[in-house]
Symmetry: C2
Subunit: 333 residues, 2 copies
């Protein structure tokens, strides 16, 4: 009796929980974005301030948000970033949105996680051009930061661990759920037009999904740029081999997420593709050996535009003012 009733009961509970949609998702290579289940709110608020604080740079002008601009899809929408004294960066700034879902950070994966990443640009002479010691000196001289670090971490002394932990905790909140594609995955069958669904079908059947899968539609593997045909990069970056030292990893990069891809132009590690139409065309030919027709390309692009989710929504943080003893920035020295 029990065995005969159980499936029915399970089906009822599953239906109540919306699990029939979950079953459908399981058959799909892309899963909906799930907002973080556990965040330290005090750390998030502190990390948000640090993310927007240009005093973590030598010039006092460049913050995390300068190149990973949360008004613009978590990127700077230029091919390669502008660093201290207008230095041209070597690579396209990847989006910070949904970056907590990445297998590793940076295009070459040289940072294991967001915390390890956050310290990088601060001390990079071509980016924020500061040092961890000097950045800590700034923060420690600002009474309101002193109090907030103490409240969040329970210690009297600020250190770079705390800074990168707080920035990473804020970045964990920068996920973009509720895209039209996710609504469709979760059962709202009219969330996508016929063309968008056709684009998704092409995306799967053509093999794009072999690399661009999972909740972030990418971000979870390293792949060679230029499998079928070589890619003529406008950047000297060699990718993963810089980390592993192995020749086989040359021109191997982390597969970028396609979440919010309509906002994260220009595309590729060198930012050489201005439009999704170009990017889909190049990817088709170089990675899959496929020449998408104009119609196929347009359908895939229309599907990609359904991956734009709810952008992070928060009040612009107000930064505590420097004190009389705060070292002043050096924008022109």
């Amino acid at each position: 009796m029990l065995t005969r009733l159980a499936p029915l009961a399970f089906a009822a509970v599953a239906s109540l929980l919306g699990m029939s949609a979950a079953f459908a998702q399981n058959q799909e290579p892309i899963q909906p974005i799930v907002p973080p289940q556990q965040v330290n709110l005090g750390m998030v608020e502190l990390g948000k301030k640090l993310y927007f604080d240009p005093r973590l740079s030598k010039s006092g002008f460049i913050s995390c948000n300068s190149c990973h601009n949360l008004s613009m899809g978590g990127t700077d929408n230029i091919p390669t970033s502008i660093g201290d004294k207008w230095q041209q960066g070597p690579i396209n700034a990847p989006t910070v949105l949904n970056s907590s879902l990445n297998v590793a950070q940076f295009w070459d994966g040289r940072a294991a996680d967001l915390k390890a990443q956050a310290g990088g640009p601060i001390a990079n002479p071509g980016e924020m051009a500061f040092s961890h010691t000097l950045a800590i000196g700034i923060l420690a001289s600002i009474p309101a930061y002193q109090r907030e670090f103490k409240q969040v971490f329970g210690k009297d002394k600020i250190d770079i661990e705390q800074v990168t932990l707080a920035i990473a905790e804020f970045e964990k909140t920068l996920v973009t759920p509720n895209s039209r594609f996710d609504q469709w995955l979760l059962g709202k069958k009219d969330a996508l037009t016929a063309d968008e669904q056709a684009g998704y079908k092409l995306f799967k059947e053509s093999g794009c999904v072999a690399c661009h899968n999972g909740p972030a539609v990418g971000g979870n593997s390293f792949q060679k740029m230029g499998i079928v045909q070589a890619y003529k990069a406008s950047s000297p970056a060699e990718g993963r081999s810089a980390v592993t030292g192995k020749d086989i990893d040359r021109f191997t990069f982390k597969v970028p997420t396609l979440r919010n891809v309509e906002m994260t132009y220009p595309y590729f590690h060198d930012g050489a593709a201005n439009t999704l139409t170009q990017a889909v065309d190049v990817m088709g030919r170089l990675q899959l050996g496929k020449n998408f027709t104009k119609d196929e390309n347009a359908k895939i692009v229309s599907f990609l535009k359904t991956l734009t989710g709810d952008q992070p929504s928060f009040t612009l943080p107000i930064l505590p003012p420097s004190s009389d003893t705060t070292p002043r920035p050096s924008p022109f020295k």
Copy 2:
């Protein structure tokens, strides 16, 4: 009967309206900040996006908020600003906060109002280094902007008038009411400490208030920098004479607002004073022929810090993405 009752009735109504406080204010040379009584909300929301949009610059990297950063008192907190290709600006970026209360805009007052100011930096080769025509070309190529401009202005064609009007309307909202000093002016007598009140008394009796008065505690007149003693500026800026062509206006600048002055360091048109202590000392000697004692200086500084009001609080705007036809920025050309 009526005449005998009227004053009583008036007093009762006045008391209900908090007008006894208003009477007290009238005796003070500084008045509370009044939030704008009438704003066009659609225009404000559009102007907020434009204020944060770096696509109004040649590089795609510099927005109004880069130098008038609303996380940092509406300034950039560096002596002179960083422009396109890291050019060093000639003058300290004045705060945008409460700038609607200024008699004119820019240190030399060359723009009559916020609308006239807003177009300046976009086309200034040393700042955003763009042109109005190119900026309009960008906006007109972005469907979401096209729709929003049409909704707000009711016209099919975007022009620079609309752009500067919208930015100015947003800037009208950037007032900072409710400082502790305003609370005190409005009758909350314990809003200031004894030292802060003593500082205000010194501020009035020493003559600071001759120039720093009105709701913005400045911003309403042009005055010579260096009246009693000459000021040795680290900037070539000559002030108001550049506008009037009159020699008598050399080194005459708009008196800066002291609202939120704790946040708007460094001080003076050349940003040469890093701290309020320095600024009060220099102002005392050069403008008033007074050597404030350490104690007097500290009291005036403590009063000045009570002028920090509620900072503008709003959700970081999300900018509409460029379309395939949007001209791309030129950060390195």
